[in-house]
Amino acid sequence: MKPFRMFGRSIRDAFRSVFRNFSLSLASISCITITLIIVAIALLASLNVNNFTKLIKEDVTIVVFIDREVDENKIGVIRARIDQGDNIASIEYKSKKEIREEMQASSSILEASMRDWDEDENPLMATFQIKVKDIEKIEETASVIEKIEGVHSVNYGKTMINKFLSAFKVIEKCTIVAVILLIVVTIFLIVNTIKLTIFSRKREISIMRLVGAGNFSIKIPFVIEGMVLGMIGSLIPVLIVIYGYYAFYQHFDGQLYSPLIRLITPEPFIYIISGIIILIGMIVGMLGSYQAVRRYLKV
């Protein structure tokens, strides 16, 4: 009962003192707001880059061409051999006929030139389309498959993929470092702003101690106040995330330059990010207050 009662009071007092010390609260709030906006932007960027990488990785396929002479029975054996590899996510077989039909459907020129082919003299090769689990090991996997009897050749967009992936890896690392750095800076800034706020309330803290408040119950109101400040401070960043990302997404039609680089669809995404931003604001506010008030409890 007693802890709850004190907790309820703390929440009431937190709001009250945010308004009573409004000018100082405003300093903390704007500090939180500005840094959270930057954190939000960095977060949106890094998650999108992450998504690009994932999409491209998913898109990478090894195409295995089968010797023309291999008959349908032998195909099953080859398939089983490929499937033994531990880096294989999925295998899809396309017979000569299917490939021909696909190609004919895709363009009228091809259609014209292929129309008269007899199925027996179809010069195309049957293929397996393979998706791998770990893109890093694609080279190894491909070379293993290439050695299987009946496999004519193996193909995958080696150079293009590698370039893309290494570029994204760098971007990904940079954004992660940037986000972490920003959060650390935010905490530091907020600790200092809140320290200023609390410094002006040294008297209040000493009176609390005087009348017999335990250290814990002195900290609680300040920590909750920090949480309230963090929440108020995350309001504008959250609005920016929601409306800003939505507008950005609409403006670019959901993709950057190529359909491969798709932006994350806004719907659940912006709400998740907003939640994270509010959470960061609250935690950072609480940590800041906690650190700041601790100094005044040592006598």
Binding site: M6, M208, R209, L210, N215, V299
Partner: protein, 227 residues
């Protein structure tokens, strides 16, 4: 209090080998010239300062050994009043007094009852909703006293509570304190400079000089030679 020596960090020794025993329900004045150690004595009793030697027992708690995180246990048994009132400027009279109960988690109805009773005792029931800066010095001091006694402490420590008040207002405060002493049985220890008050009240008087106890008399008078 046994054989207490207190030295500040800068090397000033404020109290030398002090031995003192105060009975429950006593009313004690601590007098002496400026810098003789009156405030230091009081600060040690509520563990604002720690003695470097000796033993201080207040209501069963060994104050000299009390850990920082346990100080609140002592403070809840005490009421403390200062020369400069130490009220929360942005809280009303009622809130200031209620504050002392809120921080120890008292129930709301109980707070209400006790705060009103304390304010009645100091004669400030009509000014519940005022802020401290809307009160006179004497009234502010009475709020501070109400805050100090609202949790019914066994011991009330006062460091020059009348230091900022004129003689007439001072006597009013003394009446309030005497009232508390006799009706609630609260032990009171009060440091003061005020000759007239000490002479009029005829209570136990402890005289300090340069950190040493030089006299301790029942129904004492203010001694000029002490200064």
């Amino acid at each position: 209090m046994k054989d207490v020596t207190m030295q500040y960090k800068n090397g000033v020794t404020a109290i030398y080998n002090l031995n003192l025993k105060i009975k429950k329900g006593d009313f004690v004045f601590v007098i002496g010239g400026t810098g003789c150690g009156k405030s230091t004595l009081i600060k040690m009793l509520y563990r604002e300062e720690k003695p470097i030697r000796g033993e201080i027992i207040v209501g069963g708690l060994n104050v000299a050994k009390l850990r920082n995180s346990k100080v609140y246990k002592l403070r809840r048994k005490l009421g403390i009043v200062f020369q400069d009132y130490r009220l929360l400027p942005k809280s009303t009279v009622y809130e200031n007094v209620a504050f002392a109960l809120e921080v120890i988690g008292t129930k709301k109805e109980e707070i209400n009852k006790k705060v009103l009773r304390a304010l009645e005792l100091v004669g400030l029931k009509g000014k519940l909703r005022n802020y401290p800066d809307q009160l006179s010095g004497g009234e502010q001091q009475r709020v501070a006293i109400a805050r100090a006694i609202v949790n019914e402490p066994k011991l009330l420590l006062c460091d020059e509570p009348t230091g900022n008040l004129d003689p007439e207002k001072s006597m009013e405060i003394m009446k309030v304190l005497e009232d508390i002493n006799s009706t609630m049985g609260t032990t009171i220890m009060m440091a003061t400079h005020d000759k007239d008050i000490v002479n009029k009240m005829k209570k136990r008087v402890i005289t300090l000089k340069d950190g040493r106890l030089i006299s301790d008399e029942e129904k004492g008078k203010y001694k000029n030679e002490a200064i």
